[in-house]
């Protein structure tokens, strides 16, 4: 991730000192030697009729023609209605407004195209996939459009000042996003693959650098080859599976958390207007993470009900608590629920001191998570009494039983989600998914290339490329890492 960011940063940084001539007509295949063309969903995640997908780069014209084929490019900077279809399968995707902005008179200064499509997740995901299949196009990294604009002198220096902060924030958002994607099985898979690949690469490199002088047997290479073959099979299988359609997980992740029996499940049921979770007066009723897609104040969200956080419960519940904590890490917004009448209880205090304090105050690095503190069961408080908790951070009072305070909560949620979804970097899990798929496919292609190559220097280059693709998902992959494996696994030197 670092490497990717780094390239972007410097690409952005080069600035307009050597303006690249843009392919004005953008007809045909992109000019050799130009940078990659990127695409992304540019509109926010709010409930809207129209979603805007943007491309930037020399292959933009080619992409536009591929999806609207066989028609010519629309006139510059005027909207046209076109039928979009998948360039490979020909499957129709949507009727959409398309716009063509030849560089340099565009947002980024490069050739740009815009697709205004209907806002459903299926359509958006279909168009993104179609764009991904056009040669020369790849999903944009977070903030990459802005950086390109900077690189082509479309942003002033003052605007650039915000870029460092933006990158910081995006790194954080990307981290959370990556965690979310990498949490669970896919994460284990990716890390496993990266480990195998690093080892295979290290062994090939060792064979090149030390094979002749030292005690490295031919079997080193054979082992690496068989590892690569297995990896190839695993990646191929995974990608076929992924194409059949992973469950869409669109929307902001809102996680309801709190000590046991604070009324988390009641709140989830209230917000989703359906009985998602079993509710009982018994603490520890919810043991697993329950997810439900909801519409909160106009924003799509994935609401997760989690097990109450406490120590010393049975093994099943402990597993639930572990999952709850994992989910908290990945949340865009935490709904922290406490029992208003039990604020002094140890579990409440503990929860306040850990989760709430940490998220609210923000860590020194500024990586704070959004959190709304809700005091439930306000109906149990004496009417007209003093504020039960003058020392607490800002909070809302609610009674899931009577529904009192619900409007206030919804309003607060709407505000928070507007912030979350307005940030373009957190929005598109669709895009993250596309990005993963892009890099996994790139990795697989490189591995296949490795298998076909006789020249060992070229073969190693293919593995380096493959490792580079995985590194964009999992990080790592530097020279030192490779050398460490070499010196750990072999006795080399004279």
């Amino acid at each position: 991730m670092w490497r990717g960011l780094w390239t972007l940063v410097t690409r952005a940084a080069r600035g307009p000192r050597s303006p690249r001539p843009c392919t004005r007509q953008g007809s045909g295949v992109p000019a050799a030697g130009a940078g990659a063309t990127i695409f992304a969903l540019s509109s926010g995640q709010g409930r809207c009729g129209i979603a805007v997908i943007r491309t930037s780069g020399p292959a933009s014209g080619h992409a536009l023609r591929s999806l609207t084929a066989p028609r010519d490019l629309p006139p510059a900077r005027s909207a046209c209605l076109r039928l979009l279809s998948h360039p490979r399968s020909g499957e129709p995707l949507d009727r959409a407004l398309v716009l063509w902005f030849p560089g340099p008179q565009s947002f980024t200064g490069e050739d740009c195209a815009e697709f205004h499509v209907h806002g459903g997740p299926a359509v958006v995901s279909g168009v993104l996939q179609a764009l991904g299949s056009v040669p020369g196009l790849r999903p944009a990294e977070a903030g990459e459009f802005t950086r390109r604009a900077f690189a082509h002198g479309k942003l002033s220096l003052t605007e650039v000042e915000g870029l460092a902060d933006l990158i910081h924030a995006e790194t954080e958002a990307q981290r959370r996003q990556a965690l979310r994607q990498l949490g669970g099985e896919l994460g284990h898979l990716c890390h496993g693959w990266a480990k195998t690949l690093t080892k295979a690469l290290a062994h090939v490199e060792a064979y090149i650098d030390f094979g002749e002088d030292d005690n490295l047997e031919e079997s080193v290479l054979e082992r690496a080859n068989s590892e690569v073959r297995e990896l190839e099979l695993a990646l191929g299988a995974h990608l076929r599976d992924a194409r059949r359609g992973q469950r869409l997980r669109s929307g902001a992740h809102v996680v309801v958390a709190g000590p046991p029996n604070a009324g988390k499940s009641s709140l989830v049921n209230l917000l989703s207007r359906k009985p998602v979770s079993i509710v009982s007066p018994e603490p520890g009723t919810t043991r697993d993470v329950l997810e439900t897609p909801v519409d909160l104040g106009g924003f799509p969200a994935l609401l997760s009900d989690t097990a109450g956080l406490r120590e010393g419960a049975g093994p099943v519940e402990q597993e639930g608590v572990r999952r709850a904590r994992e989910r908290l890490e990945q949340a865009d917004l935490i709904l922290a629920v406490l029992d208003a009448s039990e604020l002094a209880s140890p579990s409440s205090r503990n929860f306040l001191d850990t989760i709430v304090a940490l998220a609210g105050a923000g860590s020194p690095s500024g990586n704070s998570q959004r959190l709304l503190l809700v005091l439930n069961k306000s109906d149990l408080l004496p009417p007209g009494g003093p504020d039960p908790s003058p020392n607490l951070p800002p909070h809302l009072l609610l009674s899931c039983l009577t529904g009192e305070g619900l409007d206030g909560l919804l309003e607060a949620l709407r505000k928070e989600l507007a912030e979350v979804c307005g940030d373009p970097s957190t929005g598109p899990p669709l895009l993250t998914r596309a990005r993963h798929q892009h890099h996994l496919q790139g990795c697989l292609d490189a591995l296949r290339h490795y298998a076909q190559t006789r020249d060992l220097a070229l073969a190693a280059e293919a593995l380096r490329l493959a490792r580079g693709h995985l590194a964009r998902i999992t990080g790592g992959g530097g020279t030192e890492e490779i050398l460490d494996v070499i010196f750990r696994d072999f006795c080399v030197g004279k």
Partner: protein, 692 residues
């Protein structure tokens, strides 16, 4: 791999022969004995000789100061040059008209290219070298170089003066003080003291200071450097014992013959001095459990191994091999030390046990049962200076016009030393002429990778070149070093001879022409199949194939291709080297296209220069964490590209730095655009207000 010739009681006799007279030798007989030179190079090892030669070739009056003239060109460790990665460095040194490759072509006794089956990008040119011949030939070369004076003497101290205001650094070096108290002045000084800084030799539990008897110059110098504020670290290395040739039973060992024909190291040589059939073989044997036993039972007698000083991971002593990888048979190559040498060098048997145990250990090994040890192996510990304190030109940040090259920077190996020597010599000379420094980027050569790694990452073990360190390995090949560097050396520096330049230019343009001709010839795959039936061309491809694509096939070479399509290809097989190089270009063509894109990106980062006088610790208007400031302050990266490679420097920090650089650039541009530029230059503050 250190400039210590020998050690301990075995050589005490030769060390007592004290040299008091100052002898001076000059390739330039007309030159008077001066006390002022343009460039002084301290040390006559592989870095020192390579530094002195180009400095003189660039036209600087140069003095090479060495303890003894008869040790110039001494190969103090292994009797070989080159190898994988190291051969690449030698080709690049040669492309800049350096010495070691040419001398090796005159002094080898067994030439062999490693990695023959693994692709030309990773071929490792290597040769066993006759120590005596190498030294003779090197001395002949050095003593006959115009403008180069060689003087015997030990350097005790540096002469320091006020710094030049337009450069960073707290003082400037202007000469050296010799052990006899005399001084020699110079415009720049290159320090190539190898392992001499506080060097210690270790055998078993015995330790000897490594300076020669009667003089301890490098201790004085080490103190001066430390006082100046250089951060010093300590490294260790070792060398194997030497064995009498006639005491080895070669008949029962694996014999390795040299290549036929021999491939020369230098671009300007078509052959080496000796025919393959007259060359000497090498032999292979292995360690066994008895060796492990002796090592493990005597660890208490081995202080070198117990020390915490970092040794190399890849050139380990037999002790560390046994400790880290027990119960294995380790290779031992028995290498000749020269045509008429009675010694054999057991590569792989570097050891610091007490001498009698070394002999016992040797005699457990197959073929060495009756071996006579002539000289024991030993370990060396020495000071090195953290190379993050030098710029890519190898000039130190602290002291202006002082350059470091070789083991003093934490590297190991003759080739690594030679590579730095050339760059230091060139830049010491350019500095005198007030010309911009000559820097090789990591996109241009292994020399660039080496120096960039050292200056941005530093090292905590002796640094050795591997091909895996080069991210653009497919572009930086041994075959094309001349196309990458020779013209730069000729045009920017003047260290390359006319003859070499013309040869390299002819080759480069012929290659370009050849590639474009090969691209222009297109036939259907079935026609190619008919023309060259030997090639495994699949005919189901409907697209036409270019001759360049056909040349990629393993079975196809230029000769075959020129037989199939004589016009216009036959002219390209007249020169064998050209034909071979075209084949290599074809193999890598498709990947090189993408690699060129990446290279361009890196080069663009490197075009973004950071001002050299930035004080990162106090720099205002840039938001940087203290940790990042400290790192930047220590390494002083010259470009945004280098800054980004420093571990711990975050993307956000880079953006902030960039903003700073861009603002500065804009100001600078505004200044340049104004009339009467000279008056405004120092008035940037006022200018800023005007701009705003």
């Amino acid at each position: 791999m250190f400039s210590l010739r020998s050690c301990g009681p075995w050589v005490a006799a030769s060390l007592t022969k004290k040299r008091l007279t100052l002898a001076r030798f000059s390739g330039d007989s007309a030159a008077p004995l001066a006390t002022k030179f343009d460039v002084i190079v301290i040390g006559g090892g592989h870095a020192g000789t390579e530094a002195a030669a180009p400095a003189a070739r660039c036209g600087s009056r140069t003095l090479l100061l060495t303890h003894r003239v008869d040790t110039i060109g001494q190969m103090s460790c292994n009797p070989s040059f080159g190898g994988i990665g190291k051969g690449h460095l030698m080709r690049e040194v040669d492309a800049l008209d350096g010495l070691c490759s040419r001398i090796c072509d005159q002094s080898g006794v067994h030439y062999k290219v490693l990695n023959r089956r693994k692709g030309p990008a990773v071929w490792g040119l290597r040769a066993q070298i006759d120590r005596k011949l190498y030294k003779q030939n090197m001395q002949k070369e050095i003593l006959n170089t115009p403008l180069l004076t060689v003087q015997e003497g030990a350097v005790e101290d540096l002469i320091l003066t006020e710094p030049e205001p337009e450069h960073t650094g707290k003082c400037r070096v202007s000469g050296v003080v010799l052990a006899d108290g005399s001084t020699v002045h110079a415009e720049s000084v290159v320090l190539t003291t190898g392992t001499f800084l506080r060097g210690m030799i270790i055998i078993g539990l015995e330790m000897h200071p490594a300076g020669r008897l009667g003089d301890q110059p490098s201790i004085g110098l080490a103190q001066t450097l430390e006082k100046l504020g250089f951060v010093v670290g300590r490294l260790k290395t070792g060398t194997p014992p030497r064995i009498a040739k006639e005491s080895i039973n070669f008949n029962i060992l694996n014999k390795q013959m040299p290549d036929n024909p021999s491939i020369p190291f230098s671009f300007i040589n078509e052959t080496v001095w000796i025919k393959p059939e007259d060359q000497l073989p090498c032999y292979l044997t292995h360690t066994n459990p008895k060796v492990d036993e002796i090592v493990l039972e005597n660890l208490h007698l081995n202080s070198h191994i117990k020390e915490t000083t970092r040794g190399p991971r890849y050139c380990p002593s037999i002790e560390s091999k046994v400790l880290r990888f027990p119960n294995r048979l380790h290779q031992v190559w028995l290498e000749p030390e020269g045509m008429d040498s009675d010694l054999i060098y057991p590569q792989g048997l570097s050891v610091t046990l007490p001498a009698e145990l070394q002999e016992k250990m040797i005699m457990c090994i197959k073929g060495l049962e009756k071996a006579k040890m002539i000289q024991p192996g030993y370990g060396v510990q020495y000071d090195y200076l953290d190379p993050r304190q030098i710029a890519p030109s190898l000039e130190t940040h602290l002291v202006q016009r002082l350059f470091f090259a070789g083991q003093i920077n934490g590297t190991t190996g003759y080739e690594e030393a030679a590579a730095q020597g050339v760059i230091a010599g060139i830049n010491a000379s350019l500095r005198v002429k007030r010309k911009p420094p000559f820097v090789i980027s990591r996109t241009e050569g292994y020399i660039g990778v080496l120096i960039d790694d050292l200056t941005t990452l530093g090292t905590n073990e002796p640094y050795r070149m591997f091909t895996s360190r080069a991210e653009f390995r497919l572009s930086l090949r041994p075959d094309n070093a001349d196309s990458r560097l020779t013209s730069r050396g000729y045009k920017e520096v003047g260290c390359v001879s006319q003859q070499r330049y013309e040869r390299a230019s002819w080759m480069k343009s012929s290659l370009e022409e050849g590639i474009s001709v090969l691209k222009s010839i297109e036939f259907s795959s079935s026609k190619w199949k008919k023309l060259i039936p030997q090639a495994s061309i699949s005919i189901d491809k409907s697209l036409p194939l270019r001759a360049l694509d056909v040349l990629k096939y393993e079975e196809v070479d230029m000769k075959l291709l020129a037989t199939a399509v004589p016009e216009p290809l036959k002219k390209y097989i007249k020169c064998k080297e050209l034909a071979e190089r075209l084949k290599i270009e074809a193999i890598y063509e498709s990947v090189l296209f993408y690699q060129q894109q990446q290279i361009k990106e890196v080069q663009q980062d490197e075009a973004l220069q950071l001002p050299k006088d930035l004080d990162y610790l106090t720099l205002r208007d840039v938001s940087l964490s203290y940790e990042v400031r400290e790192k930047l302050h220590f390494s002083r990266p010259e470009t945004i590209g280098a800054a980004g490679r420093i571990p711990g420097v975050t993307p956000a920090a880079i953006i902030n730095l960039l903003r700073f650089v861009k603002t500065t650039q804009q100001r600078q541009a505004a200044v340049n655009n104004l009339p009467n530029t000279h008056q405004c230059l120092c008035d940037t503050d006022g200018l800023e207000e005007r701009q705003l």
